[in-house]
Symmetry: C3
Subunit: 263 residues, 3 copies
């Protein structure tokens, strides 16, 4: 597969990506979509999420700073997205940390169609029903066959599962891809996980025919932008700025030379 082709598609189609997300990284999530050449929009009022979804090409849900009202709006928005058959990405941010987050993930997965479930290792393991120890929104060591956990959840829910980590895993019922782009320094920056979900939203919005390939391409491009940014790493904030600016500038040559997706 050719990750750059998916990026070029985003830049050409400029999908509108509707977010209902957390208050910590909301600005970065909007900017990462904008830096890709797509259009972000953030709206969470029950009064308008359905209508906003009517304009969008993808919906990104993130449970990072959840409230009951936000969950209700997510369900309304996801129903609207399901009707229009636009991809819905759920970032299970902090799953495993509280029962409220766990219940919300299950509630969403049970009541609406989620096309891509995305989380780090402990978050995905938790949503897959494993007992995990967490540290809030940071991942802890998860034992077992990570690919099997992702595949099992993908089959059970009939969706694409993205498990981020040193090596990202993207699985659906038929295939599993490994994405070996990205660098360790991403863990020094708040919001790389949330931004990755938004990038997946933009890619899936532009290429809705295969969310799994779109997600793999998204993670590869995001990781490549980070690899380029890590050269001369000067600290987390300078690094974050460069990830976003490199995504904006990512070209065919760099992307093709650096893409590391194992199919």
């Amino acid at each position: 597969m050719d990750a750059y082709g998916f990026l070029a598609n985003v830049r050409e189609k400029r999908p509108l990506v509707h977010h209902i997300t957390n208050w910590v990284t909301i600005s970065d999530c909007a900017q990462v979509v904008k830096s890709l050449g797509a259009s972000p929009v953030m709206a969470h009022a029950a009064e308008e999420v359905e209508e906003m979804c009517g304009l969008a090409s993808a919906l990104v849900l993130n449970i990072g700073t959840l409230t009951r009202e936000i969950v209700d709006s997510m369900k309304v928005a996801a129903c609207a997205a399901n009707k229009r058959k636009i991809p819905v990405i759920l970032d299970v941010c902090g799953a495993g940390a509280t029962s409220f987050r766990d219940r919300t993930c299950i509630e969403l997965l049970d009541t609406v169609r989620i096309d891509v479930v995305k989380g780090n290792r402990s978050e995905i393991a938790r949503v897959a029903g494993r007992h995990v120890h967490t540290r809030g929104v940071d991942s802890l060591f998860v034992t077992g066959d990570l690919g099997a956990i992702a595949s099992e959840l993908a089959r059970k829910r009939g969706c694409t599962v993205v498990m981020t980590g040193a090596e990202d895993i993207v699985a659906d019922s038929g295939k599993t891809l490994l994405i070996r782009n990205g660098v360790d320094q991403m863990a020094t920056v708040v919001g790389t996980g949330c931004m990755a979900a938004s990038v997946i939203g933009a890619f899936a919005g532009a290429s809705p025919e295969d969310p799994t390939l779109a997600a793999a391409a998204a993670l590869s491009c995001f990781g490549i932008a980070a690899e380029l940014a890590a050269v001369g790493f000067a600290g987390p904030m300078a690094f974050k700025q460069q990830i976003l600016d490199n995504l904006y500038a990512l070209d065919r040559t760099n992307t093709r030379a650096r893409q590391r997706i194992v199919e």
Copy 2:
């Protein structure tokens, strides 16, 4: 007119600019006011917005991530601002995208005095009663005489209307000004529109006697900061940082040499 004189006035008077705004760009809006040498304050609880307005020199309302509670607080705050005769700026962010946003704009314009209505082309056209197609919070092509749309809305509402675009239009019932500062790269950054409204708030707070001239000066200075930042453009995030830092440092010489306001 002399845009720099208005900026110098902001730096001297250091107006407190109260915001009820969205969660995406709230940090940038606060910083842009701070970078001008003024004081930002953000507060949205119905319990305190009236009192906070009692301390402020201007009020900026932005409907970017609206809820019913926020609208109610906006009305309370605007009433307090009206009583104290401090300028109220309304950024009609996303007008045209949902009926909730459209209704809220009309509700605010009908129930409180708004001194400056600010939006991009499709947002202002929508508030002026035109049918528009939008892409969330990004402007789409609007046909017709843009200056006439702005002037008509200004006369109808008895306020200043700011329509941003490649050429910004600032109109009131008696005059129309064109501001030809700024660069295309501003469209790659989330929040330039919101920040522009906050800059207008600071300028109008320091020079409340003529919100139209204050708004024109604000847009000119903001655009000049962006022009200087665009030299050696290295990506949207680096560019945003430089816009904010250039505003902090903007001097008389650069501002006077670059000001392009057509009266």
Copy 3:
């Protein structure tokens, strides 16, 4: 005392710092904790704050964009923190600006145990019962013996009091420390005060046995990061980025050479 030793302790223990904070600086507060090598988590729903506190090593409360629901969640979270004897830091952001903020500070101090009360001069003076004039969240001149105001409040409430300013004061019932790190340019950046509270949270979470020394060490390290960032100051945003990046990189040599804590 040795501020670097406290920083090294944060980096080793990587405390989880739970925040219930404002929407303006929430991203910077998360990043500053991450840049220290600790783990930030932000959650404010009444449904999950108790459980999140059960995972945390410190709790940071900030009243910057308060609502009634947020106050209720703060009380639940603080009760949970009190039971587990983890330090609770209260940033009385904007105290003196509205009676809602003043009442909330008193309500929290009266109903839960606060280990560290932190504010600028006018905020702390207000919480200590003085009449002050404020400009929103920016400090105004406060007359009188600042150290005495801080000590008096510390004795009355049986807690550590942090009063930030050109010279930071950290007082408890037995001692008063002066921290002479930091630079004037910090006043050009939105969120330095909020970030300082988060840094105190991380330091107190890693060294809960003496919140006063932990707070002094935190302010010294934060101030040193700012001093290093002020070299070649290029504007508020570049400066903020460098403060955060310097905190990440702060080493023993620089910290020991620059530490200015008067015991």
